[in-house]
């Protein structure tokens, strides 16, 4: 039973603060992803929970025990490293069982556990090999087996898939998710890949400059981004941003663009206010001229993505892109009309970057 409780975590290297006063609660059994651009402090945060990095201030509790001053081996956590960090001078079997052998668990107890994790991860045929004779994906599985066999209270993954090719990454991502559904061990997974975070997480902790920018389910993060930063970071193709002026009737106006906003979502908006609109390409589609909330632009580029295509258009001299299945009928120079529903328009304060959506 391991919920994780971080209170007022501060980390600085010399005078340079990396994390300043971070509070975080992770309930038992949850799969949490720390997401953010490089240098946002997500790996540092993970390493502090692991005990590989000392905290400058604050407390960390795992399963009700204060582990702030405990060495990594006594925290009941297991970690999978980006580089796998397998022991090159040991066989795969020895790599996996090292921790148990070290604790003095008897051979008779280790053997069935080794057999079980090897089966789950498909490593039965590699147990006698040395790590360097395995492929990247196999090495990653050994690293996961080594973490699993100890049945830890918490799994920590530090960008475990970033050294693998795209196809393998997708496969292992699914495997990790499946394994979590089965074992239900509390898990923290660090990544800078927003798609990986969206697909694998129960909850995403989106970090920026050592602070939590937003914490929520993938749906919340995608549909109700708390700030322009979150909105920009999540989703491919990236969101379009337009600065607009509000007119009576909650109409946002900018050049030729006039968009009706949702009164339910943004009750606090006042006419005359300047706002920044966020339009997700995936939430827009082609429409008839003169439809509600229609934008009109000239096609600059069409990117074929298979089932759908991204159409980049020029509207009033600025580029706005949208995604449509009907992209095959469009060619460069065409005039297109596309639309977005009011409830899909995000509105941000242009100064603070915070969302103006009601809580």
């Amino acid at each position: 039973m391991a919920h994780i409780h971080c209170t007022d975590i501060v980390k600085s290297y010399g005078a340079h603060p990396v994390i300043s006063g971070l509070n975080l609660d992770i309930p038992n059994h949850e799969f949490v992803v720390f997401l953010g651009p490089s240098g946002c402090g997500k790996s540092t945060m993970l390493r502090m929970i692991a005990g590989l990095e000392e905290v400058t201030g604050g407390r960390i509790e795992i399963g009700g025990t204060d582990v702030t001053d405990l060495p990594p081996g006594e925290r009941g956590v297991a970690m999978v490293f980006q580089s796998y960090a397998l022991y090159p001078h040991m066989s795969v079997a020895d790599n996996i069982t090292f921790g148990l052998r070290r604790q003095g668990v008897s051979k008779a107890d280790i053997a069935p556990r080794l057999k079980q994790v090897a089966e789950v991860l498909g490593l039965e045929n590699f147990l006698d090999r040395r790590p360097k004779n395995l492929s990247g994906g196999q090495q990653q599985r050994v690293a996961m087996a080594r973490a699993m066999i100890k049945t830890p209270k918490v799994f920590l993954f530090d960008e475990p898939l970033s050294n693998l090719d795209a196809k393998l990454r997708e496969k292992l991502r699914t495997e990790i998710r499946r394994m979590h559904l089965k074992l239900k061990t509390t898990t923290i997974f660090v990544t800078h890949d927003q798609l990986e975070a969206m697909t694998i997480a129960d909850r995403i902790v989106l970090m920026r400059d050592g602070m939590i920018e937003q914490m929520g389910t993938p749906d919340e993060i995608f549909e109700r981004p708390a700030s322009r930063f979150v909105a920009d970071f999540i989703g491919t193709p990236a969101m379009n941003f337009i600065t607009a002026q509000l007119e009576p009737g909650l109409i946002a106006h900018s050049g030729s663009i006039r968009l009706q906003l949702s009164e339910v979502e943004f009750p606090s908006l006042k006419p005359g206010q300047e706002v920044e609109l966020g339009l997700r390409p995936a939430r827009m589609d082609l429409c008839e001229p003169g439809s509600a909330n229609a934008l009109t632009g000239e096609v600059v580029l069409v990117e074929n993505m298979g089932a759908e295509g991204q159409v980049i258009t020029e509207v009033d001299g600025a580029e706005i892109s949208f995604v449509t299945q009907g992209f095959r009928d469009l060619s460069i120079g065409d005039t297109v009309h596309f639309t977005i529903r009011p409830e899909h328009i995000h509105v941000f304060d242009p100064k603070t970057g915070r969302s103006l959506r009601k809580d």
Partner: protein, 271 residues
């Protein structure tokens, strides 16, 4: 065609270099098995009746035998102590004191810049005062400067090449710092460390000047071998050659081992 010519030229040049490099060694080895009259003939002899007399003379000569014994004791003791003190120091520098690591490493290396002559004379005075002049202990002590500094200098990069993640993974499994060092850092750095020790061994084994100034009765083999040349006009060339072969043998064996080790490492390849 041009490629053929350049290959042939390269091969010829390499062959020439090998002859130049190995010629003197070959001549010395041959000389070690020749009788004096075969050595001092005006026309060099390649075909002769080999003899082991020269080696017998050396090994029966108590001065040379003692020299060999002293060399073995002094060199192995100073390399061993140098390793015991230098290797953990290097690990600490590589892992925990990276900030000062470069400075300390340069300081250690700077000990090697110093010409031994500069310290030889002060050392004679100090050693006479301390009563350790002409003792094996004194020689071991002065050689420790060389061995510790060389071991640290070569072992810091060896430990830096051990991936930090592996040490951290071991720590995650509950290993304390000492256990991480013994079970992970040391075995993983072992091939490079072995090379460092061989290099250090050769360095000290060949040392002449300090041994010459700081010891008289308890001199090491290089000193004894050098002194044979001053026996007068009747230079015992065969014996000198045999002594040289004896002197060169241990470093050659070690370097052979080192090359073998390097080759297997290259063949198995880094992952």
């Amino acid at each position: 065609m041009g490629k053929l010519i350049s290959t042939t030229l390269t091969r010829a040049l390499l062959a020439l270099l090998i002859i130049v490099a190995l010629g003197p060694i070959l001549w010395t080895v041959l000389g070690a098995f020749k009788e004096l009259r075969d050595i001092v003939t005006p026309v060099p002899k390649l075909i002769f009746e080999p003899t082991l007399d020269n080696f017998a003379t050396i090994l029966r000569n108590p001065t040379i035998r003692d020299g060999l014994m002293h060399s073995v004791i002094v060199v192995s003791a100073s390399v061993l102590i140098g390793a015991v003190l230098g290797i953990p120091a290097a690990h600490t520098l590589a892992r925990h004191a990276r900030r000062w690591g470069d400075d300390v490493q340069f300081f250690v290396l700077s000990l090697r810049f110093m010409p031994p002559v500069a310290i030889a004379i002060p050392f004679i005075v100090i050693y006479l005062d301390l009563g350790i002049y002409d003792t094996l202990f004194g020689l071991i002590l002065v050689y420790l400067i060389t061995t510790i500094s060389t071991v640290i200098w070569l072992a810091v990069p060896a430990f830096e090449r051990v991936p930090h993640d592996i040490e951290e993974a071991a720590a995650m499994e509950g290993c304390g710092p000492a256990e991480v060092f013994w079970r992970f850092s040391l075995p993983l750095a072992a091939p490079s460390l072995f090379g460092a020790l061989v290099f250090t061994f050769v360095l000290v084994w060949n040392e002449l000047l300090l041994a010459l100034t700081l010891a008289a009765q308890n001199a090491t083999l290089p000193v004894v071998a050098a002194s044979i040349t001053s026996l007068g006009k009747e230079v015992p060339w065969g014996v000198i050659n045999a002594a040289t072969v004896l002197l060169v043998l241990p470093p050659l064996v070690f370097i052979g081992l080192l090359m073998g080790l390097l080759n297997t490492m290259v063949r198995s390849g880094p992952k």
